[in-house]
Amino acid sequence: MEIFLQQLINGLTLGAIYGLIAIGYTMVFGVIGMVNFAHGDVFMLSTFIALIIFLLLTQLLGLDSISVDLIIVLAAAMAITGLWNFMIERIAYRRLRSSFRLAPLISSIGMSIFLSNFVALAQGPRNKAVPSVLDDVFKLTRGHGYDVTLSLKQILIVAAAVLLLYALWYVVEKTPLGRAQRACEQDQGMAALLGVDVDRTVSATFVIGAMLAAAAGVLYMLYYGVVNPNDGFIVGVKAFTAAVLGGIGSLPGAVLGGLLIGLVETFWAAYFSSDYKDVAAFSVLAITLIFLPRGLFGRAEVEKV
């Protein structure tokens, strides 16, 4: 029971991170129907940006207050990663939007290769251990031989994720930008005819996706304490798996899918073997799709012949 509870906490934390990244996939897919393969590497880039800004603040500027540091790191990483994704969309995807479906996918695979090698080149290909902060751990149970713990980082991750998801919900549901996004999702041509600036909406979608990925990147860096230029691929694939599992295009689906993938992975690693945790996550995806081909919350696509 204690182990179960502990893994539940760990899984939800991991799932919150996956969920934040999955939203980037699902939003971009919803608005322009494209699988943005480079999104995982944008996330990886943000972990490095966050690490450098964190080191800048603590080592060069000597800001000792961890909470102030983290807020600045979060804001700066989100802004800079947003700018990166804005430019990536401009350079690699915008011209291909009206092209056939595989073209932007290949372009994003190329972008993904570029980003991971760019970061490896700029920062070195090896693991970087992040100085550990916020190491407080609360014990939830005592005396049963195995103490269930909840770390401050885990609380922070879940709280930050909830806050960001609320902000996202507000943007999508209550602002003109969100309305434009939903309009583009339904029918881009019609939206353009009615005066929605499609280019700007797509750019905004990419920026929002990157900002959430950057938030996930900051949290990931804090939680795992290690960043690596090759992290982007596997985390990205799992987040994409989460998006597909939840029904690609659906925002609550992406969050739920992220949580599920996080839980499956941690439970598998805890009860079976950590070597095969990726296999477990992917198998869940395959099984879900066999029985629910549109994912959990995906809309059935009406096809016309």
């Binding site: 897919f29 800048l56 009206s98 073209a103 980003l115 920062q123 694939v237 070597d275 081909p293």
Partner: protein
């Protein structure tokens, strides 16, 4: 005129500003590790300024170039005509191309000598032909049947491990293993095909990608069978239908009264992969004229219409996966006999992405386009290996292999922006009423899609 110049300056300034934003933390500082101090930062501001200045100048130049080109274009409006190649010309090109491929290793040996030609035949010739074969195999799945497969390398891995295990554990000869590896891979293809029968488009893509990763993770972790990360080494080398390429009495050279040269094995491997690739091409071309091939093309264009017409989509999909996998399995067996060593690191997602980009750049469905794309992508990335020479100028810390993949990635983006429909964008149906109607990609190009 003055405001125009100002605008150009403004946009260049904006580009430089954006560049400084992009470069700020990730290029400006290098987080280095140190045993005593842990992570510390090292600033690289001169590099950042160089980047910003470079962006500014490039942006200025491109603006001027665009303005100049626009003024020229206004004078003469170029007529856009589609270039088509007649069937006879295509056949002629094909024969000339195959002739050139046959003559390539001999020409290399005679002009560069046995030692100098090794690099050209092995790194360029064989490497490119493997990818041509894989491209043609994936083309059946993606180009003909329209099933997006992001995990194609899994079957390649199955074939490679198949030969490695059969030859080292059971001692089976290559020529028996070759078809068996293909069949094993085909079984895997069907095994993947069954669960994904109902999936389409991007859902299919992600499941195939996951499948590719599962195969790699299993190869990495099932140490008892695959020896894990260390891989399987000392795989028996290729033989000339049973005669080994060795120096001794019973070797290939002695048998045929030739002087012994190590290049002979490489040349034989070259012809072997050429034959396998041509066989793949032949099978594909014939399949396109069979009911099965036509069912694939119909499936690619419209699955629902296909089902309404009573085409067995299950059989069509499974056979596309199986035949595609069979070809990858054969290529994998060839890979492992050529390398003499297999490890999971050869079968990462990057390989699937490379093969897919060859197919797409080749203009999904076009056989010659795939050859051109393979030469461009694989030949190009092999050529970038020669950047080693630059190490002499930039010193030890300069690692050219990282620039290689960086440029490959940028190249993929650039090529997609330059020719999104691929090099040879002729995807005409093999069967038509009266005259071939343009299919999907061309419709989109004409703005009708």
């Amino acid at each position: 005129m003055g405001s125009k110049r100002l605008n150009i300056l403004k946009s260049a300034g904006l580009a430089a500003l954006i560049m400084s934003g992009l470069a700020f933390p990730i290029v400006a500082y290098h987080a280095d590790m140190d045993l005593t101090r842990g992570l510390f930062l090292e600033s690289r501001w001169p590099l950042v300024f160089a980047l910003i200045a470079g962006t500014f100048v490039l942006s200025l130049l491109s603006s001027f170039l665009r303005a100049w080109r626009r003024s020229k274009q206004a004078a003469t409006v170029p007529a856009k005509t589609a270039r088509t190649v007649s069937k006879r010309a295509l056949r002629l090109i094909s024969f000339a191309g195959i002739g050139a491929l046959m003559a390539f290793p001999l020409a290399c040996v005679f002009t560069l000598g046995p030692a100098g030609s090794l690099k050209w035949i092995d790194n360029y010739g064989i490497q490119i032909l493997i990818y041509v074969m894989l491209g043609w195999g994936l083309n059946i799945v993606v180009g003909l049947a329209g099933l997006l497969d992001l995990g194609y390398v899994a079957f390649y891995a199955v074939g490679a491990y198949g030969y490695a295990l059969l030859s080292t554990d059971l001692g089976w000869p290559f020529w028996i293993c070759l078809p068996i590896c293909g069949l094993i891979a085909a079984v895997f293809g069907i095994a993947l095909g069954f669960p994904v029968l109902r999936l389409r488009g991007d859902y299919l893509a992600i499941v195939t990608l996951a499948f590719g990763e599962i195969i790699r993770v299993v190869a990495l972790n099932w140490t008892a069978l695959t020896n894990g990360d260390a891989g399987i080494s000392r795989i028996p080398r290729i033989t000339f239908f049973g005669i080994p390429f060795s120096k001794g009495e019973d070797g290939f050279a002695a048998h045929f009264g030739l002087p012994f040269l190590p290049i002979e094995r490489t040349v034989f491997l070259y012809y072997l992969i050429l034959a396998l690739a041509l066989l793949t091409n032949f099978i594909t071309m014939r399949l396109r004229h069979l009911p099965l091939g036509r069912a694939w093309e119909a499936l690619r264009e419209d699955e629902i219409a296909c089902r309404a017409l009573g085409i067995d989509t299950v059989a069509a999909k499974l056979s596309a996966f199986a035949i595609g996998a069979f070809i990858a399995g054969i290529a994998g067996a060839f890979f492992s006999v050529r390398q003499g060593f297999v490890s999971p690191s050869s079968f990462g997602f990057i390989e699937s992405a490379t093969i897919l980009s060859i197919v797409v750049l080749g203009g999904a469905g076009s056989q010659w386009g795939i050859v051109l794309a393979a030469i461009l992508i694989i030949g190009g990335s092999e050529f970038l290996r020669e950047l080693d020479v630059l190490q002499e100028y930039f010193g030890y810390t300069f690692d050219p292999t990282q620039y290689r993949m960086l440029l490959v990635g940028l190249g993929m983006v650039a090529m997609m922006n330059w020719r999104p429909r691929g090099l040879v964008a002729a995807r005409q149906p093999s069967l038509f009423l009266k005259r071939p109607k343009p299919v999907a990609t061309e419709l989109i190009a004409e703005g009708r899609g």
